[in-house]
């Protein structure tokens, strides 16, 4: 079980290999990777191209919150291993933002735990995204109502 906040990119293959190396008790590994898209949600690339996305966070609380999220997942599912990596700083379209990895005996637990971790992370972890468009405009990303709906199903 591990959480990391970093500016550098992550290597998904290497992270999975580190979690599973030498183990024969893992039957299923699920990964979720979030990437920077070239346009804001609901806006077309033609009219609103993204230049950069900057991620700010609350050092200290971020780590505490991600640890709480991971502990909550472990209470609900029999996970053999899990990992959350979240990048901060300035990113470009196509860049990785976040990685969640879950490992379990069977696929259902691994899938559900990964979705749970992402839903909690989206609504609880203190990260904020600011977009800068290629036309010079830019603003903080609004929270999505669909994320609040997603989290509600786990209660």
């Amino acid at each position: 079980m591990a959480i990391r906040v970093q500016t550098e990119d992550f290597d998904i293959g290497r992270e999975i290999a580190a979690l599973t190396a030498g183990r024969i008790d893992i039957g299923a590994v699920v990964t979720f990777t979030g990437l920077v898209r070239g346009a804001s949600p609901g806006k077309s690339l033609a009219t609103h191209s993204l230049a950069t996305m900057t991620l700010e966070h609350y050092p200290g609380m971020t780590e505490a919150e991600l640890e709480r999220v991971e502990a909550a997942a472990l209470e609900r599912w029999p996970l053999q291993a899990s990992l959350i990596v979240h990048r901060v700083g300035t990113l470009a379209p196509g860049d990785n933002i976040v990685l969640v990895v879950t490992a379990s005996l069977h696929r259902q637990a691994a899938f559900e735990a990964a979705e749970f971790l992402m839903d909690y992370l989206k609504t609880q972890a203190p990260f904020w995204k600011k977009e800068a468009a290629t036309d010079g405009t830019g603003d903080w990303v609004d929270a999505r109502a669909s994320d609040d709906q997603a989290i509600a199903r786990w209660r």
Binding site: Q124, A125, W128, W140
Partner: protein, 85 residues
């Protein structure tokens, strides 16, 4: 009571500061009280902190509802709804 106040994202940008250390008036006991106190500090503060319930609060690095007691807080943070992931 001396406490560290932290601001993030557009709350930080609008207030023009990332953090400050202040002595909170003794009569403030809850998160709701502190939000009310913030709102009357300046015109800018009024705009930021009366964005009807949008500004979220963490007390000592834990999400805090308006009713949470802040009497022994060392760090109170103010920020918009989170948008990571």
């Amino acid at each position: 009571m001396t406490v560290r106040l932290l601001y993030f994202a557009w709350v930080r940008e609008k207030l023009g500061q990332a953090e400050e250390t202040v002595s909170l008036p003794a009569e403030l006991t809850t998160v709701a009280d502190v939000l009310g106190w913030q709102a009357q500090r300046s015109e800018i503060h009024r705009n930021v902190f009366t964005s009807a319930g949008i500004v979220r609060v963490a007390v000592d690095q834990t999400h805090a509802q308006p009713s949470v007691n802040i009497k022994h807080a060392r760090e109170i943070a103010f920020f918009p709804p989170v948008t990571g992931g």
